[in-house]
Symmetry: C2
Subunit: 287 residues, 2 copies
């Protein structure tokens, strides 16, 4: 897994040389290259290999997903949104570069993601690349991450139901994880059944990711997390521990790992091992 992360980090570094306008590219590189677990790119590459594809063909997509994810974090941290000062243990983009640069760096990262996919995916049929572009763009757009962000913002300070909470997280977190896995499978030449099994796995993993995030927010310190802890409770935000209780939330996380594993059981166990391990990693991570 760490060899996959290293390949992605190298490709991301090369994808954004430090060129004019310097401040803009510094800002893009600051958030894109400043750490991060690369969960989405790793899932993308692992899905490509699971269906028998060459990992190298999915590297541009893996990079694009991390660019899109980073853009959503930069914009989500802005003062008018979540107003966060810390991200991945560092000051947030707008704290370092100013709000206007942070907004523009996000816009540029989103645009670059599509440029990168369309121009670098040279070993794969253009048909597949177009399918991947549809998955990526709908994953981030008004029926994907952005839908989750707006419903999340509009729900702040309100009592919401478990269904509404699930809507937020399925969109805010699962959609892009799903897209990462589905795009990897498409680039690897997966058939429809494989793609749909992996889409469901992605949905479980995405929700799991968020449930664990909520649990960590109430059980860990800012120092352990590399971001402000206890923030959800301080802002009276709806979370799984708050709506279900901490113990039930932990049980729900275990159920989600189980469902994810069930989808993977369709595949050869040895080949699916990296995705099994990734589900476990997401479930049992400590930050």
């Amino acid at each position: 897994m760490s060899s996959k992360a290293n390949k992605v980090n190298k490709a991301l570094d090369e994808a954004i040389p430090l060129q004019n306008p310097i401040k803009l590219h510094e800002s893009m590189r600051y958030s894109l290259l400043g750490g991060g677990k690369r969960v989405r790119p790793i899932l993308c590459l692992a899905a490509c290999e699971l269906v028998g594809g060459d990992e190298a063909n999915a590297i541009p997509i893996a990079c694009a997903i991390e660019m899109i994810h980073t853009m959503s974090l930069i914009h989500d941290d802005l003062p008018c949104m979540d107003n966060d000062d810390l991200r991945r243990g560092q000051p947030t983009n707008h704290k370092v570069f100013g709000e206007e640069t942070a907004i523009l760096a996000g816009d540029a990262l989103l645009a670059l993601a599509f440029e990168h996919v369309a121009s670098k995916s040279t070993n794969v049929s253009p048909d597949r690349v177009l399918r991947v572009i549809v998955e990526l763009s709908s994953g981030i757009g008004s029926k994907g991450v952005v839908a989750g962000q707006i419903v999340d913002i509009c729900s702040e300070g309100k009592e919401i139901s478990l269904d509404e909470l699930e809507y937020i997280h399925v969109h805010k977190t699962s959609k892009l994880l799903e897209a990462a896995i589905v795009c990897g499978a498409i680039m690897g030449g997966g058939d429809e059944i494989e793609v749909e099994k992996l889409r469901k796995y992605g949905r479980c993993i995405g929700l799991l990711f968020q449930v664990v995030d909520d649990i960590l927010d109430v059980t860990k310190s800012s120092n352990e997390l590399g971001k402000t802890a206890g923030k959800d409770m301080a802002s009276n935000k709806a979370t799984y521990p708050k709506l279900m209780g901490l113990e039930r939330a932990k049980e729900f996380a275990i159920e989600l790992v189980g469902k994810a594993m069930e989808e993977l059981s369709y595949f050869d166990a040895l080949r699916a091992a990296p995705l099994f391990r990734l589900a476990e990693y997401i479930a049992y991570r400590q930050n």
Copy 2:
């Protein structure tokens, strides 16, 4: 020309149905469908026809360009950017929906642009569609519109040279107009020479568009423009009239129309007539 604008307006309306999350889609529709001259989509369709293509094949691209352009306007109007209250005669997006929704609506429009192109361009070879996606994304990204916006913001209150002013406008305005025309020509099946002639025409037209904008800002009222007039001078912003004088700026506009016409002279005069007229329209527009 107005029949082209009508087709684009209809396609844009259909591209964003009013669905959940309602506030987000209302915000996207508010800025996308609330007027605008549709200069970029018209240029795109006209370029497609000029090289012998079927206008219908370029409609998804024309829509995507207007989505991208609208996103750049929404973000540019934000308080931390140009802080504009009026756009196309109406309150700006963040004035109506709030900053956080305006930022997210812009993000969603940018994503939708690529989804729309990749999923709706079914009559054209996928190779061409991918080329168009590269043109569009580099037109808006960190070497395109966003580069112009950041240099523009960083130059505020400073003395800048004519070269720097040209850098700003070539990026902020010309890049997307160029992309509109080039993408139309690619979708229409234009050859390399045709595409490059039209790229140069686009660059002249883009610069012309901005020079005329600067001239109108000092010669017209807010009411005539549908946006705040005299703003450049009030904010001591560098403009062509300020750096060259108003009369020289007017001459420069005439020179640019001439250069644009020269590029068009490569083409059949009758077929190129719409692009000739559009250059004249941009040069002599009153708002």
